[in-house]
C-alpha cells in the first residue's frame, strides 16, 4: 500500500482559494488545486479539500482460482452438485441447496443470450469502454447462468435467445474479462 492518505489542502494555502457557488466547479478546482471554497445562496462559505485514497489489495481468488486459471487455457469451468443434479455456470465450490462440496466441470463454449443490456455509462473505471454490452449467458446442460460481456455486435442486433460463442483473451489478465461472448456464426443474419 502506498500513499494511502495524502491531504493536499494546506500546500496551496498561500494563494487565495477559489470561491464558487457551483458545486461542480468546486469539484473541478479541487482536482487541480487541492482546496476551494463553496459559497451558498446565503453567503455561507464551506471549505473543501481534496482527500485522495489509493490502495493496492493483495487479492486471492482462493477456492475460485480454478475458474480464472481455466480462462487462461480457453476453458469455461462451472461446478456440479451430483446429489442435487445441479450445474452452476458461475461456479460455487459448495452447493447452495445441500451445502456439500461441488466438483469442477467444463461448460460448453456456446450458449444463448438469457438477458442483455448496452451500458452507455459505467462507473469511473469503465467509462472509457462505453458503450459496452453486458450479457447473461445460458448454457445447454447448466442450471444457472453466467454474466459476461457481449462483443462484435450492436445494441440493435442483440435479442434474447441469440446464439453466442465464448472467446478468450490471448494474453490473460486473470480477470473475468478474459472471457467474453460474440454472436455465433450466422446469428446476426437471422
Amino acid at each position: 500500500m502506498k500513499g494511502a492518505t495524502v491531504m493536499k489542502g494546506s500546500s496551496t494555502s498561500k494563494r487565495p482559494l477559489k470561491k464558487s457557488a457551483k458545486f461542480t466547479e468546486v469539484q473541478e478546482t479541487l482536482l487541480k488545486e487541492g482546496a476551494a471554497i463553496y459559497v451558498d445562496k446565503k453567503g455561507v462559505e464551506s471549505l473543501y479539500i481534496d482527500f485522495p485514497y489509493h490502495v493496492n489489495y493483495v487479492h486471492s481468488y482462493a477456492q475460485d482460482s480454478p475458474f480464472f486459471l481455466g480462462l487462461a487455457e480457453g476453458k469455461l469451468r462451472g461446478t456440479r452438485c451430483e446429489p442435487c443434479k445441479y450445474t452452476w455456470a458461475t461456479p460455487r465450490t459448495h452447493c447452495q441447496f445441500c451445502g456439500e462440496p461441488t466438483k469442477w466441470v467444463e461448460l460448453p463454449l456456446q450458449g444463448k443470450v438469457h438477458s442483455w443490456t448496452t451500458c452507455h455509462y459505467g462507473s469511473e473505471a469503465f467509462l472509457k469502454e462505453t458503450p459496452y454490452n453486458l450479457v447473461i449467458v445460458e448454457f445447454e446442460g447448466a442450471n444457472s447462468v453466467l454474466l459476461s460481456r457481449l462483443k462484435a455486435c450492436t445494441e440493435e442486433q442483440i435479442y434474447v435467445g441469440m446464439p453466442i460463442v465464448a472467446k478468450f483473451a490471448s494474453e490473460p489478465k486473470y480477470l473475468i474479462t478474459d472471457v467474453w461472448f460474440e454472436p455465433a456464426p450466422g446469428a446476426l443474419k437471422g
Binding site: 485514497y53 480464472f68 448496452t118
Partner: protein
C-alpha cells in the same frame, strides 16, 4: 429465424426448504413510531457534515415529541451504507456523541440499499424484545464526496468483485439486465406472443415497456413537486423521460435515481412510553426481511413463493425468480403480511412507499409485494392503480388512487442517500398515517385520504436483501 430462449429446468425439489419464509412465530411487545424527521435530500449539503445532517433530522423528530428528554432515549440504531463514501470509519460513533447519546447502547447497521429499512427493524427489535423502551433509528449518507461515476464504482463494489464488478461495475447495467428479462417473460411472451419474428417481437415489447416505465417516472417526479424534502421534483411527461439520455438500455436517465446527501430519523417506543409522548402513535404492525444470492447468475429457476390470494396454477409456466424478479422482496412481504395479518395487500394497504431506485424495479416490486400478480405490473401502471387520485399527471388513469405507490416521490425524485432512504420512507409513512402531510409539506396534495395502513419497502443491491415493514394508524 431467431429462436426463443429456453433455460434448462432444474429438478424442482432442490428448492424445498429454501422457499419458506418465516411466518407467524412472532411474539414480543407492541412497538410504535412516535416521531420522525428528515433533512431535505440534496446533491450536496456543503455546510453540513454527516453529524450535523443527523442532528437536524434528530432535532426535527424531537420537536414532534416535546416531552421526550434526551435522557429518556434508551439507545439507538444507526445506519450508513458505505465507508467509502464516509471516508471515516466508525462514523456512527461521531454521530452518537454529536447527538449526546453516550453512553447508551447502539450498533451500526449496514445492509446495502436496504440499510435504512434494516435500521428501522433493528430499532423495532430493541423495543419488541424489551431491551429498550425508547430507541432512535437514524441514518445518513454523504455521496457528494466523490464524483458521480466514482460513486457508481463505490456502489458497484457491492457486487461480486471476482465475477461481476470487473465487467463494468455498474448497477444501472445490472438492473437493466433484470428488466430486459422481465420484459421478455411478461410482455414479449404475452402481449406480443403472436409475433413470430423474435427480434421484432422483442423490439415491440421494449417500446411498450419503456413507455410504461416512463409513466412511473412521471408519477414519482410529479408527486415530488409537492414534497419540500425531495431532491428532484420535475413536471415531466412520458416523452421527456423517453428523450432523456440512455444510461443502460432500456433505462434512460429519468428512470434512475441519483446520488444524494441527506439524513432521516425516527423514534420508536413501547406502548406505555408512546402513550406518554403522543396522542397519535403509529403502530409497527409487521416486519419482514428476505435475502437472495449476491450474484444474479446464482438465482434459481424454481417455484413462486405464493401469497394467500394466489394459486400455484397462476404460475405454472414461470421459472422463478430467475433474474427477472426479487425473491427477497417476496419473502420479506410474506413475512411482514403474515405478521400484520394482511391477506390481500391491495385491499389492506392505503399506500406503499417502495424502493424505486429504477422505474423498472418499482414495477417488478409491485409484483413481489403482491399488489398485482407476476406479469401484471405493466397493466397495473397503465390502469393507474399506483397513482394518486385527483392529481394531474397529464394522463388518463381510470384506477388512480387504488393503491398509491410512492406518494412522496420515491427514490427517483426524492433522492437516495442510501443509509437515510429506508428511514425517510418510514418518516413519510408516519406523517401519512398521522394525516399530517399537509402540516409537514405545506400542501395536502400528497396526503392519501383516510390513510389507515401503509407499507415501507427497502431493497439492497439487485435484490440481495429486502425489508418490508407495515405501519398502522391506531387513533380513530
Amino acid at each position: 429465424m431467431p429462436q426463443a430462449s429456453s433455460t434448462v429446468k432444474p429438478p424442482r425439489d432442490v428448492f424445498s426448504g429454501t422457499a419458506t419464509p418465516a411466518s407467524t412465530k412472532r411474539s414480543g411487545r407492541r412497538v410504535y413510531v412516535v416521531a420522525g424527521g428528515v433533512t431535505k435530500f440534496a446533491k450536496a449539503h456543503p455546510d453540513m457534515d454527516f453529524r450535523l445532517m443527523c442532528k437536524k433530522a434528530f432535532d426535527q423528530a424531537r420537536s414532534e415529541v416535546p416531552n421526550l428528554r434526551l435522557n429518556d432515549i434508551d439507545g439507538s440504531r444507526i445506519s450508513y451504507f458505505s465507508d467509502h463514501f464516509s471516508r471515516q470509519l466508525k462514523a456512527s460513533s461521531m454521530v452518537l456523541d454529536y447527538l449526546g447519546l453516550n453512553p447508551r447502547g447502539s450498533v451500526r447497521i449496514e445492509w446495502g440499499g436496504a440499510t435504512g429499512g434494516e435500521c428501522f427493524q433493528a430499532a423495532w427489535e430493541a423495543i419488541a424484545s424489551g431491551r429498550m423502551d425508547t430507541c432512535l433509528a437514524i441514518g445518513y449518507e454523504t455521496m457528494s464526496r466523490v464524483q458521480t461515476w466514482k460513486g457508481n464504482e463505490f456502489i458497484a463494489l457491492a457486487s461480486d468483485v471476482n465475477y461481476d464488478f470487473p465487467l463494468g461495475g455498474f448497477y444501472s447495467g445490472y438492473y437493466a439486465l433484470m428488466v430486459v428479462r422481465h420484459i421478455y417473460e411478461y410482455v414479449r411472451r404475452t402481449k406480443f406472443a403472436n409475433i413470430k419474428d423474435e427480434r421484432e417481437a422483442q423490439k415491440k415489447a421494449f417500446e411498450y415497456a419503456g413507455r410504461v416505465m416512463a409513466m412511473v417516472s412521471v408519477k414519482n417526479h410529479r408527486n415530488a413537486m409537492f414534497n419540500p424534502y425531495a431532491q428532484y421534483p420535475k413536471n415531466l411527461n412520458v416523452e421527456d423521460v423517453l428523450k432523456s439520455e440512455m444510461v443502460s438500455y432500456p433505462l434512460p436517465r429519468e428512470d434512475i435515481c441519483t446520488m444524494s446527501d441527506g439524513a432521516a430519523a425516527t423514534i420508536l417506543c413501547s406502548e406505555e412510553k408512546a402513550k406518554e409522548l403522543t396522542e397519535d402513535p403509529i403502530l409497527v404492525k409487521g416486519v419482514g426481511c428476505g435475502t437472495d444470492t449476491m450474484r444474479l447468475a446464482d438465482r434459481p429457476f424454481g417455484k413462486v413463493l405464493l401469497m394467500p390470494h394466489e394459486k400455484a396454477s397462476d404460475y405454472a409456466q414461470l421459472e422463478y425468480p430467475g433474474v427477472h424478479s426479487f425473491r427477497a422482496g417476496r419473502a420479506a412481504s410474506i413475512e411482514a403480511y403474515n405478521h400484520a395479518g394482511i391477506t390481500n395487500p391491495n385491499k389492506d394497504l392505503s399506500f406503499v412507499e417502495l424502493h424505486d431506485a429504477y422505474a423498472s424495479s418499482e414495477i417488478q416490486t409491485y409484483e413481489d409485494m403482491g399488489l398485482c400478480r407476476y406479469g401484471e405490473g405493466y397493466g397495473f401502471v397503465e390502469r393507474g392503480d399506483p397513482f394518486l387520485k385527483g392529481f394531474d399527471y397529464g394522463m388518463k388513469l381510470p384506477n388512480a388512487g387504488a393503491t398509491p405507490v410512492n406518494p412522496s416521490g420515491g427514490l427517483i425524485a426524492c433522492g437516495h442517500p442510501v443509509g437515510a432512504t429506508g428511514l425517510m420512507q418510514a418518516v413519510m409513512a408516519f406523517w401519512q398515517l398521522q394525516h399530517k402531510v399537509g402540516e409537514r409539506f405545506g400542501s395536502e396534495k400528497l396526503q392519501v385520504p383516510n390513510a389507515k395502513r401503509g407499507a415501507i419497502h427497502s431493497h439492497a443491491g439487485t435484490g440481495s436483501a429486502v425489508t418490508v415493514s407495515i405501519l398502522e394508524r391506531v387513533k380513530p
